[in-house]
């Protein structure tokens, strides 16, 4: 139906929804992020208890040791609701796709030195399984977390990790070397160098505290692994063999930089809420960091040889600095 509407200006009766006006303390326009996020998860009058966890309500703040008086304080500084999230990933995917195409067109993978390729694939390909573990553990947060602010961000992180696992898989396709995927999987399952890491992420799959999973996966593991392997190891490959892997792992670097802003902000707000939260977060970060460093040491040794310890020390320092900035002294 079409109708000629003269452009007119009419005064709205209200600027936003009641729950947002109360939250902002005034009736003023709300952002689309707020409309898509705030106060939307049910908090009361549930009909039934879960048959799978009758000790809890459907949504229950007691599923973590972290305590917040307002769970929507855990806002996403990127202001990601579905639209901006998928637009950002679409743009990143376009760039990544262009890079993969270019590597293919110019035959850059085939021309890459065999020694460099073997080393790179040995270190990078098993990371698809690490990302897969993060996918499932972030799905847990998305499922059982409290409040849409955190669950939607975890849902996006979970899908992002699936995307990362798929981009890593494409490395093998780009190098026309599917056998390397099978070897990487065997290494992940049986190779001594990967067992500490696999053991850790499998332990996380039975962790019931969803906030612990956020800290372990999105802050500690990614906070050490990405700077170590997607940055420092990538730099090493660039210097020794040329920048092909730099092109083929661009998505991961861009993603990690952006996602760190989100998780840092979440930790900062949670730590600022109470001394108890701060202490709990410090315990988790210390424990998880210790396990992750132990797990990454054999990988770092393959990647950096005798520089492994120095590289690890750098990324540990970087993680500690981020924790300190979030108000969590370790």
């Amino acid at each position: 139906m079409s109708m000629d509407l003269r452009t007119i200006s009419i005064t709205p009766l209200r600027q936003t929804f009641g729950h947002l006006a109360r939250r902002m303390g005034a009736d003023k326009p709300a952002t689309r992020y707020m409309e898509a996020t705030m106060d939307l998860q049910p908090v009361e009058n549930y009909h039934y208890r879960p048959t799978w966890e009758p000790q809890y309500e459907i949504f229950d703040a007691r599923r973590t040791r972290i305590v917040m008086h307002d769970w929507y304080a855990l806002k996403d500084p990127r202001q990601y609701y579905y639209g901006p999230w998928t637009l950002a990933r679409g743009r990143m995917g376009e760039t990544a796709g262009g890079d993969f195409d270019l590597v293919d067109e110019l035959g850059l993978a085939a021309a890459y030195p065999a020694e460099g390729r073997d080393l790179a694939l040995r270190v990078l390909l098993p990371l698809r399984h690490v990302a897969w573990a993060s996918n499932i553990n972030n799905a847990y947060v998305s499922a059982y977390g409290y409040g849409i602010a955190i669950t939607q961000a975890a849902c996006y992180a979970s899908m992002d990790q699936l995307g990362v696992a798929q981009y890593v898989t494409r490395l093998a396709i780009a190098f026309d070397d599917l056998e390397s995927l099978a070897s990487a999987k065997s290494a992940w399952l049986e190779g001594r160098e990967w067992q500490e890491l696999r053991h850790f992420v499998e332990d996380l799959m039975v962790e019931h505290d969803w906030f612990a999973l956020l800290v372990a996966q999105d802050f500690v593991i990614d906070g050490l692994l990405y700077p170590l392997l997607y940055e420092r190891f990538n730099d090493k490959l660039n210097a020794a063999y040329g920048p092909v892997f730099s092109m083929l792992t661009r998505f991961q670097r861009e993603w990690a930089g952006e996602t760190a802003k989100w998780i840092d902000s979440v930790l900062k707000v949670a730590a600022g809420e109470s001394p108890e939260n701060k202490a709990q977060l410090a315990v988790w970060i210390n424990d998880f960091r210790e396990r992750t460093v132990k797990a990454l040491t054999p990988i770092a040794t393959i990647a950096f040889g005798d520089k492994a310890t120095a590289m690890l020390d750098e990324v540990i320092l970087q993680l500690n600095t981020r924790a300190a900035k979030a108000g969590i002294p370790l």
Binding site: M1, F17, A96, Y140, Y144, Q152, Q166
Partner: protein, 514 residues
């Protein structure tokens, strides 16, 4: 290395490498501890690898398609809002459809998002897990785009501003809440039958037609665009629901009895949930698309029957409630609208008596029932209203313990008799709207004794603001309920004479006249 195979990778092979091949069986922790929920419902799965991916979308492709859709959608929403698109709808009454929609639908899409995240965590197979996760994130999209499309209407019309607060409190939203609460508190396989199959596959068109085509017919470009933009997502969701049913049935013959019970239960629960949607088609859209009866015949009786014929090879039979729904299609929408009309102080949307043309349309569409049973009621209520004696039911309704609908439907075979069923469980009497709901209760009484019935809660004094003495001798539960709901009195009662009606007319005049 001469592995020149990648260029020849088929779509299926490539997708397997991008999903299932990422997964492994855990050994440091036992698989049944990593996936603790897949066993207790009794569904037997022997080989998760037999799962057929219903669609094969890697994340890069997903982001590309979805980003394109989002870009277009928000461009249209912005333009619609900027140009006061709300004034181009057929009639101010139409906006009441959006009020009902906003209260009932985005909150349930949100439950679907969380529910699919749960199943996307709990399924053992990587194939179903990824498919469920993708549906979870789609459902975030759906509730958010729905809220965004209605946000601008909220600025100009009453009754939409407290939807988030009302979702868990408002009596008539309790049926939808109970539906999703029931599904999400069930195990992962029952959730898939409830939402993935019964809701998304069997009944989804009945939801789509009134809202989306209804929006299109009535000039609401915003809601229409949201709906059309969601359609390709919905197509994926439908194939997931169907694949899940087939997978369960193919895995073990013992699964059939369980799955059949769930199909019977959830088709009925979905049917009850859709009564208010049907009412929207028959009464609330100023420009009608088709009657609820016609929609039911096409989308449920014909398409549904074809689906169940297809599933017959697994031993699945047509849902038990099928015949009753066919009989009820001639009644439920009229009973629902009458029910809402009779409670003018209890909803954040307006009601009205259909105009003469509309009554004729209903007579034509419902030749077997409308003139015989319902027209006389409308004519009576209309006469009463005009005589200054507008009907106003101030009592608390009696609700079904399972579907939570107000008990208002007729006895099968007897339109003049109200249908009541009751069961005594542990010394307490429970009431039902139908034999089907009674049977659902009796299958799982420990679950359904928990149902939150808002009229009971109000009578128990649980819906009064803090500081009110609910034990005072003169305590009247009804006097506080509107505050508990945050119900704006301007949003209640008759459309005729409402602020919405006046504003819409005045603004449209400004926009279209000199």
């Amino acid at each position: 290395m001469d592995m020149k195979t990648s260029k020849k990778l088929g779509l299926k092979e490539r997708y397997t490498m991008m999903t299932r091949d990422l997964a492994w069986d855990t050994t440091y922790q036992p698989m049944d501890k990593v996936f603790p929920q897949v066993g207790y419902e009794g569904i037997k799965i022997h080989d998760w690898d037999k799962w057929e991916d219903p669609f094969r979308l890697t994340m890069d492709a997903y982001w590309k398609y979805q980003a394109e859709k989002e870009r277009k959608l928000y461009a249209i929403l912005d333009a619609f809002n900027q140009n006061n698109g709300h004034l181009s709808v057929t009639d101010g009454r139409y906006i009441n459809v959006l009020k009902l929609f906003l209260g009932s639908t985005p909150p349930l899409e949100l439950m679907a998002a969380r529910g699919f995240s749960m199943v996307g965590r709990q399924m053992v197979g990587a194939g179903p897990r990824v498919a469920c996760q993708m549906q979870a994130v789609d459902e975030y999209r759906h509730f958010q785009t729905q809220i965004h499309s209605i946000s601008n209407y909220n600025k100009f019309y009453n009754g939409m501003d407290e939807f988030a607060h009302q979702q868990s409190r408002m009596w008539y939203l309790s049926d939808g809440k109970s539906f999703f609460d029931d599904a999400i508190t069930a195990g992962p396989f029952e959730f898939m039958v409830a939402i993935g199959f019964a809701f998304e596959y069997v009944l989804t068109n009945i939801l789509f037609v009134p809202f989306i085509s209804g929006a299109a017919y009535n000039g609401d470009m915003a809601a229409m665009t949201v709906g059309f933009s969601a359609q390709s997502d919905e197509a994926r969701h439908m194939t997931l629901g169907l694949e899940c049913i087939k997978f369960m049935l193919e895995q073990d013959p013992d699964n059939l009895a369980i799955v059949q019970r769930w199909i019977d239960k959830w088709t009925w629960r979905g049917t009850r949930k859709l009564a208010s949607v049907g009412m929207m088609m028959d009464y609330m859209l100023p420009k009608r698309i088709m009657s609820f009866k016609e929609a039911w015949e096409i989308y449920f009786e014909q398409n549904g029957a074809a689906l169940f014929t297809d599933l017959a090879r697994y031993g699945v039979t047509i849902p038990k409630c099928f015949a009753q729904t066919v009989e009820e299609k001639e009644h439920v929408t009229h009973q629902s609208w009458l029910g809402f009309y009779m409670k003018p102080e209890s909803t954040p949307f307006h009601t009205w008596i259909p105009g003469p043309d509309e009554l004729d349309w209903l007579s034509e569409k419902y030749p077997n029932t409308f003139d015989k049973y319902y027209r006389p009621m409308y004519e009576y209520l209309d006469a009463q209203e005009k005589a200054g004696n507008r009907f106003n039911n101030k009592t608390q309704p009696m609700n079904c313990q399972v579907c939570v609908n107000t008990i208002k439907y007729n006895e099968p075979g007897d339109p003049m008799e109200m249908c009541f069923r009751e069961t005594v469980y542990q010394g307490e009497k429970f009431h039902f709207c139908s034999g089907h709901c009674q049977e659902i209760f009796e299958d799982e009484p420990e679950k359904y004794i928990q149902t939150y019935i808002s009229s009971h809660q109000a009578l128990q004094g649980n819906c009064a603001p803090e500081g009110v003495d609910t034990h005072a001798p003169d305590f009247n539960p009804g006097s506080h309920i509107a505050d508990y709901w945050r119900l704006d009195p301007r949003a209640t009662g008759d459309f005729n004479g409402s602020e919405d009606q006046k504003n819409f007319a005045a603004w449209r005049d400004l926009a279209t006249k000199n």
